[in-house]
């Protein structure tokens, strides 16, 4: 598995002043794989995503990305977030960050930004190329909304959506950037059981379309059913990795979670 991974993280370390939020973390994701990253609150999972997507600059370590299409590898450390997205990594946010004063459709259209190119002159003169590109953006965005089940609400403000729908819109917006690696930060948080079940179907569908998925989640049932492999971290360190069956019986994991709420916290 190692030699054909699309994401290889080695020795990733992130310091905030005195706090070491990530401590020499190693992780890898293969093509079309669903990998879960779990750990107690404050373990450093979101920080890991922020390092991957260029929002934080890691203090040490190496992040390498290999495009499954071209097979070419590149180092992500120090790249700006938008460059990383363009390379094919997209994410959702734990604390939803939609553009609330824009419509649902426009939110997805923003995701198309990095795959389109028209600029000032194209916009003013509305050339054939620009018009074609716009229509393509609109059509592709509608298709994505259909996929995440929001096409009915396409022209409503994003802020008017329910919590679960907003999480799905975040996924749709990320998909619009055409990523081959999708990072989901607690996609099921705040969802009811029905919504969570729909989410599982959606994630599997996205995987079947060829995207690899790295997923942070506290809902253990979801993690155990979806994941091919699981990484467990605590206090910034990786404490275990393996298949769901292996993780379920791992001593270190049980110890880390002991006294904590292991079950789903669907508050």
């Amino acid at each position: 598995m190692m030699n054909k991974s699309i994401l290889v993280v080695s020795g990733l370390t992130m310091d905030f002043g005195g706090i070491r939020a990530l401590d020499r973390l190693d992780l890898d994701v293969g093509p079309k794989e669903i990998v879960a990253l779990i750990g107690p609150n404050g373990a450093g999972k979101t920080t890991f995503f922020n390092c991957l997507t260029g929002i934080y600059l890691p203090s040490d370590g190496d992040i390498r990305l290999v495009s499954p299409q071209t097979g070419r590898g590149s180092r992500l450390n120090g790249l700006k977030p938008n460059k990383i997205t363009k390379k094919g990594v997209a994410r959702t946010f734990q604390n939803i960050r939609l553009f609330s004063q824009m419509t649902v459709l426009e939110n997805v259209m923003i995701g198309r930004h990095c795959r389109t190119s028209s600029l000032i002159m194209g916009a003013i003169l509305r050339t054939r190329k620009t018009r074609k590109e716009e229509q393509e953006t609109i059509d592709k965005s509608y298709d994505i909304l259909e996929k995440v089940g929001l096409s009915e609400q396409a022209n409503e403000f994003a802020s008017s959506l329910s919590y679960g729908a907003q999480r799905r819109l975040e996924i749709g917006r990320a998909l619009a950037t055409e990523p081959f690696l999708l990072l989901l930060d607690e996609p099921a948080a705040g969802m009811n059981p029905q919504e969570t079940a729909d989410l599982v179907t959606l994630i599997l569908q996205i995987r079947d379309e060829g995207h690899a998925i790295l997923l942070i989640e506290h809902d253990m049932k979801l993690v155990m059913t979806l994941s091919d492999r699981i990484f467990v971290m605590d206090y910034g360190k990786k404490i275990a990795q393996g298949t769901p069956a292996e993780i379920r019986v791992n001593r270190a994991v049980i110890k880390a979670y002991l006294g904590e709420d292991v079950g789903p916290d669907n508050a």
Binding site: N82, R97, F99, T103, E106, I110, H113, L119, D139
Partner: protein
Amino acid sequence: MITVKEVKRSLLVSLWFVFLTFPLMVIKVNPYERTVSWRWSNMVYVAIGTFVISLLAKAWFVRKERRMARQQDSCHARIPIIQRILQRPGYRYPLAAFLLGAVLAFPHLFSTYQANIMTTALMYIVLGLGLNIVVGVAGLLDLGYVAFYAVGAYSYALLNLHFGLGFWTVLPVGGLLAALFGVLLGFPVLRLRGDYLAIVTLGFGEIIRLILENWNAFSKGPSGISNIPRPGFFGLEMSLDQAMIYMYYLMIGLLLVTIFVVNRLQDSRLGRAWLALREDEIACQAMGIDKTRTKLIAFSLGAFWAGLIGVIFAAKTTFVNPASFTFMESAIILSIVVLGGMGSIVGVILGALILVLLPEYLRALSEYRMLAFGAILVAMMIFKPEGLIANVRRIYCYQGRKSNTALKNDE
């Protein structure tokens, strides 16, 4: 609808106002005759006036809250009346035709003096539309917008003085120079956020003004540059009145072009990126938008329009000096954008007309003019903080069919 509690509150408000205005409104000291007259009737007016106004305001808020509550039930946002009129094609074209007719006939129906005021208003509309891109759409609080206006004005004044260049040559040059300044300033500054950006741009505006004031060899200092030629029309000789009217039509033309361009920009890939940037920078970057570049484009485009209007300003007044480019100008242009409703073209037009024409026609109130101006702005912020024209998003139509898009992907 209005409870006893609210009546009590209004009474309290009116008492407080009576107390506050007592020395001003009631006591009148005549220093020559050394007498003091007590105008008790004024006190009664203040008491009744504030009581009624306070009650009305309260009632208004209650109504608004109830309306908001109702709105929550229906998922579609309520569209304000002006927008409803504008959106209906049956009204739209007659309205546009009427407006165009009125605008074209204006200088012939009224005095040149009126046309002149209107030209000023038109200039502020274009300035507002320019700043609207920066502040309203892209959300970059620029308090030094007047600096780019000054760059435009002085580029015409200086290029004409030293090289004898004419208005039509300098018009684009002034715009481009201002845009260049926008890029130069924006590059280091645009990584700052919110308040910090506001302070730095404010400083920049003042620096430009101070340079113009103190660098005598370059800009002739506070005495300014005079005898700047008015715009020519194929070498035609024009009387002062004709020149004024010509200026008016020129501004109408520029305004139409500006509306066209700004409208297209807002409704484009770039315009959407600006809006998204205003809402959430981090999410924007995570969606692959180059933050710095997108901001820089907005900033320099805004500066471009300020530059254009600067050139026109110099040509209109035939005289520039640094006193025309104080912070007050930036503040007025910013108020236009905020009053109109951030990001709305119609809003900016209304905002500019109100803010420029109102003080002009309130001249009768002489010293209370600025007071009234302030009161209107404050009332606006209380009753309609989202501006005159609220945010309405475009509805996009899906054109491909499922099978079609699948085919398109294969191409």
